[in-house]
């Protein structure tokens, strides 16, 4: 019962470990090579990209990176992106968790219909929805206002988040819920004190997905924000793009830098994911 495995010769264990490493490294290289190319590309100037696409930069042009880091528009956009992403994520996870809870663990008439209704949010192209959405936002005076981006992002993030959370909320065994009710727990109490902590990996997952989606959103901030002070990072890329040509190298540098915070969020949230390893679904 204490996790005793089949006794295995040490050599096999070590071989297995090495094999896994090899597989992991091979797969990782397919992922890393384009990324490394992007990072290195930022150290070249744009015409070097066409003459020396994949070699090391020659000469190295650190200005692409340092200029961006030194410009205060980058930091302002970084702040805007962070603020909007965090606000969006908190609101969407909160609203979705509440809704997914009843969709997962209560039975009532029209439940599946309601769930499908939410799912339809995934089925319509955003590019067509944006015009009526824009008119609505203007009506409510939400243009040039962070809420004009946050609220629609929350609304459009609800479908995927609810779908994923509902799936995980279902997997909590019914015995736990029964025990809680016998102990006199209200639905909200069960939700808040038992369900949510147990669903931490799932919450971390949907949070990461919400942050990434908000981080890269281009169309919505583009039409909502006229004031460059409100611009988010994806909009900031435009300063390197002109009518007929783009400074691709600077764009690469910019995007690499813009990606780092989002990856940072993931690294942090990811520790929540693996904490589930030791928790397990059946608590004492």
């Amino acid at each position: 019962m204490s996790g005793a495995r089949h006794a295995r010769p040490k050599a096999i264990i070590r071989f297995r470990g090495a094999l896994l490493q090899v597989i992991a490294l091979t797969l990782a290289s397919f992922v890393i090579v384009p990324l490394v190319y992007g990072v290195l590309g930022g150290f070249k100037d744009t015409s070097q990209l066409s003459t020396n696409a994949f070699g090391l930069p020659d000469p190295w042009v650190p200005e692409n990176y340092t200029d961006i880091l030194a410009s205060d528009t980058f930091w302002r956009q970084l702040w805007n992106s962070t603020f909007i992403a965090l606000a969006t994520t908190i609101l969407v996870v909160a609203a979705s968790a509440l809704a997914a809870f009843v969709l997962a663990r209560f039975s009532f008439r029209g439940r599946e219909l309601l769930f499908t209704l939410f799912a339809t949010g995934l089925m319509f192209p955003f590019a067509v929805a944006i015009l009526p959405l824009f008119v609505l936002l203007r009506m409510f005076g939400l243009l040039d206002n962070p809420l004009g981006v946050i609220l629609p992002q929350v609304a459009f993030g609800l479908p995927m988040t609810i779908i994923i959370l509902r799936g995980f909320f279902r997997s909590i065994p019914i015995e736990i819920e029964e025990a809680a009710i016998i102990d006199g727990c209200s639905p909200f109490g069960f939700f808040w004190r038992i369900l949510l902590p147990m669903a931490r990996p799932a919450l971390a997952t949907v949070s990461v997905l919400a942050i990434v989606s908000s981080w890269n959103n281009f169309m919505l901030p583009l039409v909502v924000f006229n004031d460059p002070n409100l611009w988010t990072l994806p909009l900031g890329v435009q300063q390197f793009q002109g009518q007929y040509s783009s400074e691709t190298a600077k764009v690469l540098a910019y995007v690499v830098l813009a990606m780092i915070p989002a990856l940072g969020f993931y690294a942090v949230a990811e520790r929540q994911l693996i904490s589930g390893l030791t928790a397990g679904a059946i608590k004492g």
Binding site: L20, L27, A28, L35, A53, L114, M123, F124, I174, V251
Partner: protein, 310 residues
Amino acid sequence: MNAIRPRSRRARLRGSLTILAFILPALALFCMLVLTPIIVGFYTSLFKWNGLGGLPRDFVGLDNYTRLFADPVFYGDLWHTVVLVVLSLVIQLPLALGIALLLNQRLRGRAFYRVVFFAPYVLSEAITAVLFMLILSPSVGLANQILGIVGLDGLEWFADQSTVLLSLFLVITWKYFGLHMILYLTGRQAIPREIIEAAQIDGGNAWQVFRRVTLPLLGPTIRISIFLSVIGTIQLFDLVWIITEGGPSHASETLAVTMYQFGFKRFQVGYASAISVVMFLLSLVFALGYQRYVMRRDLEGATTVLREQR
């Protein structure tokens, strides 16, 4: 899932109010900001409209739809979608699952790998497109350079009608497998360690444990992953638009790309809305069918599986 105990009328009312209270924030936001635009989209699909000058006036009924169904490009789009869906289900999802399981092992540098494998998903579509247009460039691309080293002829990748869809699939897989990987990772975490260990003790080797215990327990997660993947493929737009614009000669065009062409470049917004409605209906039909036949077990009681194992 059934209620735990029989309820009095008042208790049921309170229950309904509780349900309403939980659902309301999401529902309100959703109806206002998502449903309303969709309904407007349905409405405008019945008109011939260039988007300017107030509400559409030129009512054409279902003409936009008949025009769409008579256009060979539409059928090309459908075919491309089918191809991409099948490829995703057969290649991308198993790949993501494999990687998720790999990252769940005791592996040195596991945290590093997790960040690395998720990084493509974090990268924006625009820059993914730029990177791969360069890597798969027939003239200066890394891919052809590598092929050249091993003595193979370079491919045309995005520049040839016969290879463009597969090349696109390569990029799509690279970009999006991280989403499914993270789903499978989370799903895997939710499986109690005790169950796996019990199965191992019962004398299964790794593959048997996987097939008989892990895989079925991952079932709900896999089914969600497939659901999101199919719907996502039907809606696929950004990467395709930036890399190929649907070309060459419509060889890589998807429904969303056609919609964008007609709506935003040709300013035939009514027609584009019709295309959006068709995309919507396709997704809806799939979703309804999928829920009924595939996810039904998940809906009855997620603990059914665990229960049966007792």
